[in-house]
C-alpha cells in the first residue's frame, strides 16, 4: 500500500488533478503513520507499566471499572495519562529561548515520524518503498539528536544542557556500530530497499531454520546483537539512558518540559523504539516473513508476523530497562568505540568474506 498505489486507486475512481491526489494520499499515509505511532505508544506504555509491575512483584495499574478509575486491569491507564498530559499547564521557563523551546519536541518527533514512512508493516503495507529505504531511515533518524540538542539548549537549564551534550555524543557514537552492522546485512541482501531486504530472506537455511539474516551466517548473527545494543542506545533507554538519567540529571533534556510538549518527547521515544525495533526485524528477523517457509503467508499474515516480531523486540527493550542499571557516560563511550565498533568492523569483514566464499 504505497503512496503510489493509493494514487492509482484514487485515479481509477476520481479522475481529478494529480496534485490533489498526491497531497491527499500523502496526508492519508501521514495520518496512518501517526495513528500507528500513537497506538504503539498507548500499547507500549501500558505494556511497560504492566511488564515492569510483574517484574517487580507488583500489580501495576488496576482500575476497578470504567468511569472513575483506569478501566479493568488498568486498561484505560494510558488514555487517562494522555488526557492528563493534554490538560496540564504548558510551562515555558522565562529564561528559555521560546521559539526553539516550542519547536524542539516536534523536531524529535519528526525524526521518528518520517522514518516510519519507509517501514514495511506487511508485504504491501509501506508508505513508500524507496530504493534507499534503510539508508533513508538511518539518515532521518538523526533529526532526533538535533531536537534533543535544541531542547536541551533552549531550556536554559544546566541539567538539560548536560543531558543534551550526553545525548548528542551518545547517539552519534552509536550510529556508527549500528550502521556498520546494517552494512553487513546489506552485503547479504545486496539491496537498500526495505521490501527487497525482506524478500531476500525468504526460504530456509540448513533445512529447518528460516533464512533470516540472523541465521544466515555466524557474522550476521553477531551483527544482530551489535545492532540491537546500538539501537537501544539510540533510543536513550536503560542501560543507556544517560541523557535523561533521573538519578543524576533529574530528567535530562526534558527537565523543563511539561504537558503536551513533554508528551511529544514520550511519543517520540516510543516512536524511536518502533523504528529501531522495526529496523531490527526487517534487517535481521525476516520482516514479515513467516518463521516456517510456506506456512501462513499472505498480506495479512505478513502484517501479523511483522507485528509479532516487533512486539517481541520491544518487549526485550522493556525487559532491559527494568533489569539493568545505567552505564556511566565514559563507559558508554567505551562500549561504543572500544567494543562495538571493532567487533562491527571485524564482522563486516567476516560477512564480506563469507559472501565471497559461501555465496
Amino acid at each position: 500500500m504505497t503512496i503510489d498505489n493509493i494514487i492509482q486507486w484514487f485515479q481509477s475512481w476520481f479522475p481529478v488533478n494529480v496534485m490533489v491526489l498526491f497531497i491527499t494520499s500523502v496526508l492519508i499515509a501521514a495520518v496512518v503513520i501517526f495513528a500507528i505511532m500513537a497506538v504503539n505508544a498507548l500499547v507500549a506504555v501500558y505494556a511497560e507499566r504492566k511488564i515492569s509491575a510483574f517484574m517487580q512483584d507488583r500489580v501495576g495499574p488496576m482500575g476497578q471499572g470504567p468511569g472513575l478509575h483506569a478501566g479493568k486491569w488498568g486498561l484505560l491507564q494510558t488514555i487517562a495519562d494522555t488526557i492528563k498530559l493534554i490538560l496540564k499547564e504548558d510551562i515555558i521557563p522565562k529564561a528559555a529561548d521560546k521559539k526553539l523551546f516550542i519547536i524542539a519536541p516536534f523536531i524529535i518527533f519528526l525524526g521518528a515520524f518520517i522514518a516510519l514512512a519507509a517501514m514495511p508493516f506487511g508485504p504491501y503495507l509501506i508508505a513508500s518503498d524507496m530504493n534507499i529505504g534503510i539508508f533513508y531511515i538511518l539518515a532521518v533518524s538523526s533529526f532526533g539528536v538535533i531536537g534533543i540538542i535544541l531542547a536541551a539548549w533552549s531550556s536554559d537549564n544546566k541539567w538539560s544542557l548536560y543531558g543534551g551534550m550526553r545525548s548528542a555524543a551518545q547517539i552519534i557514537s552509536y550510529e556508527i556500530p549500528a550502521a556498520l552492522s546494517l552494512v553487513s546485512v546489506l552485503l547479504l541482501t545486496s539491496t537498500l530497499s526495505m521490501q527487497g531486504i525482506i524478500q531476500s530472506q525468504a526460504g530456509t537455511v540448513w533445512g529447518f531454520l528460516p533464512n533470516w539474516n540472523i541465521f544466515n551466517n555466524p557474522f550476521s548473527f553477531l551483527a544482530f546483537f551489535i545492532y540491537f545494543i546500538a539501537g537501544v542506545a539510540e533510543t536513550n533507554r536503560t542501560p543507556f539512558d544517560i541523557p535523561e538519567a533521573e538519578s543524576e540529571l533529574v530528567a535530562g533534556f526534558h527537565t523543563e518540559y511539561s504537558g503536551m510538549r513533554w508528551a511529544f518527547f514520550f511519543l517520540s521515544e516510543y516512536g524511536n523504539m518502533l523504528v529501531v525495533c522495526g529496523l531490527t526485524v526487517v534487517a535481521f528477523l525476516g520482516g514479515w516473513q513467516s518463521p516456517i517457509a510456506g506456512v501462513m503467508e499472505g498480506a495479512w499474515w505478513g502484517l501479523f508476523w511483522f507485528l509479532t516480531k516487533l512486539t517481541a523486540t520491544i518487549f526485550i527493550m522493556i525487559w532491559f530497562r527494568w533489569t539493568f542499571p545505567r552505564l556511566r557516560v565514559d563507559q558508554l563511550m567505551n562500549v561504543a568505540w572500544k567494543i562495538l565498533l571493532p567487533i562491527a568492523l571485524f564482522n563486516l569483514f567476516g560477512v564480506a568474506i563469507w559472501t565471497l566464499l559461501v555465496g
Binding site: S52, Q56, D57, K158, F324, P325, L327, R328, D330, Q331
Partner: protein, 373 residues
C-alpha cells in the same frame, strides 16, 4: 593546544534532587563531567533536636530520637534508652533485652534494605529497589503488629519496651526469616553480580582505611574500608555478647578495598548476620516475662554525664547525655554516624564524574534527618 581553557561551571545538586536522599545540597564545581570541588551544604532539615531535648523530660526525648534517623528508629531510641539506663543504673528484664535486640536487628535489616535499594536507584536499577521494599514491608508489618507503628515506633522505653511481643510474632518471624534468606540471593543475582552494577560501583569512590578513620567514619562505611570494627562485637552493649555472628569487612572482591561495591557488599552481608542474631534471639528468648517490670516511676538520673555508643545501621551512634539531677537533661548531644560519613564525601568523591558522585553519596547511606537533627 593548551590555549583553550575549559570554564568551570557551578552546579547545585539539590536541595531538591532525586538522589540526594533527603534535603541535601551539594555545591559542585564541574569541568565537563568531572567534579573538581564538592561542598555539602546541610541544615535544611534542622529541627533543633538538641535544643528541644533541653526542654523535655527524658522519656519525651525518645520520640525525637526516632525522628532523627527515621529509617532506623528502633536503633536510635535503643541507643538513647541504653544511655539513660546506664546513667540511672537500671537493669532491665531478660525478655526485654531479647525483644530489644530482635527489634534493633530487624530495623537494621530494614534500614540496609532501603540503603541497598536506593543505592541501586542511584545506579539506575529500579527493580531491585522494589524487590527490597517488598521485604522491608514485611519487617514493617512485624513492627506494626508489635507496636502499631510502621515508621516511628516510640517502642523502646527507659527500663522496658512499650508492648510485649504479640501472639503469632514468633511464627511470623521464623516464616519471614526463612523466606528472606532466600531472597537475599535474588538480590545478588539481579544487582550485586550484575556486570553493569559492578562497573559502576567497583573501584569507584575508594575510601582508604586511614581516611575513613581520620574522618571518624564508622559502621558499614568503615567496615567497607576493611576495618573490623563493630561495637556489637568490640564493646558489646545490651546482650550482644551472647550471640554468635561475624563482622563482615570489605575485601575488594570486585575492585579495591573501600570502594562503593565493598560498602554495598558489607551491608548485604550484615543482613545475613542480623538474620543469625535474630534466629538465636528467637530461640533463646524467655517465653514469659513482664516487659514493664523495670520501668522506673520517675526518670530522674543522678547528676553525671555519659557518652554511650551503640551500633546503628549507619555506624557508631553516640549519645552524650548530661544530667543535672532534674527531670530534664542538661544536654543531649547526638553523635550521628551519617554526619561524619557525609563530611568525608568531598574527600573521596572529588575528581570523579557527576554520575559517580551520586553513586558514592548513595553508597555512604546517609539520612539527612540524622545529619541535620
Amino acid at each position: 593546544m593548551g590555549l583553550v581553557h575549559a570554564e568551570e561551571m557551578t552546579l547545585n545538586i539539590g536541595p531538591q534532587h532525586p538522589s540526594t536522599h533527603g534535603v541535601l545540597r551539594l555545591k559542585v564545581k564541574t569541568d565537563g563531567e568531572i567534579i573538581s570541588e564538592i561542598t555539602p551544604v546541610i541544615g535544611y532539615l534542622h529541627r533543633c533536636f538538641e535544643k528541644h531535648c533541653e526542654n523535655l523530660s527524658y522519656e519525651q526525648v525518645i520520640p525525637f530520637t526516632d525522628r532523627c534517623d527515621y529509617i532506623a528508629a528502633m536503633n536510635n531510641s535503643f541507643g538513647y534508652v541504653l544511655a539513660v539506663e546506664k546513667l540511672m543504673d537500671i537493669q532491665v528484664p531478660e525478655r526485654v533485652e531479647y525483644i530489644r535486640v530482635i527489634m534493633a536487628e530487624y530495623n537494621r535489616i530494614a534500614s540496609h534494605l532501603l540503603a541497598l535499594g536506593t543505592f541501586g536507584l542511584d545506579v539506575g536499577a529500579y527493580t531491585p529497589f522494589l524487590y527490597m521494599f517488598r521485604d522491608r514491608e514485611r519487617i514493617l508489618d512485624l513492627f506494626e503488629i508489635t507496636c502499631g507503628a510502621r515508621l516511628l515506633y516510640n517502642y523502646m522505653w527507659v527500663g522496658g519496651v512499650s508492648h510485649d511481643l504479640p501472639l503469632g510474632f514468633m511464627e511470623a518471624s521464623y516464616r519471614f526469616l526463612d523466606e528472606f534468606e532466600k531472597n537475599i540471593n535474588e538480590y545478588h543475582n539481579i544487582l550485586s553480580y550484575n556486570k553493569i552494577f559492578i562497573e559502576r560501583s567497583a573501584d569507584v569512590g575508594i575510601m582508604p582505611k586511614d581516611v575513613a578513620i581520620d574522618y571518624g567514619v564508622t559502621g558499614p562505611n568503615l567496615r567497607g574500608s576493611g576495618v573490623k570494627w563493630d561495637l556489637r562485637k568490640d564493646e558489646p552493649y545490651s546482650i550482644y555478647n551472647r550471640f554468635k555472628f561475624d563482622v563482615p569487612v570489605g575485601t575488594g572482591i570486585m575492585g579495591s578495598v573501600g570502594d562503593c561495591w565493598d560498602r554495598y557488599w558489607v551491608r548485604a552481608e550484615e543482613m545475613q548476620e542480623s538474620i543469625k542474631i535474630i534466629r538465636q534471639a528467637l530461640d533463646k528468648i524467655p517465653r514469659e516475662g513482664n516487659v514493664h517490670e523495670a520501668l522506673p516511676k520517675k526518670v530522674r538520673p543522678p547528676k553525671g554525664s555519659i557518652y554511650f555508643r551503640t551500633e546503628s545501621p549507619r555506624g557508631d551512634l553516640g549519645y552524650y547525655i548530661i544530667s543535672d539531677g532534674t527531670p530534664t537533661p542538661l544536654r543531649v548531644k547526638m553523635r550521628s554516624p551519617a554526619f561524619t560519613a557525609l563530611s568525608a564525601l568531598s574527600e573521596i568523591a572529588t575528581g570523579w564524574m557527576l554520575s559517580d558522585v551520586l553513586v558514592i553519596l548513595g553508597s555512604l547511606d546517609i539520612v539527612l534527618g540524622e545529619i541535620d537533627r
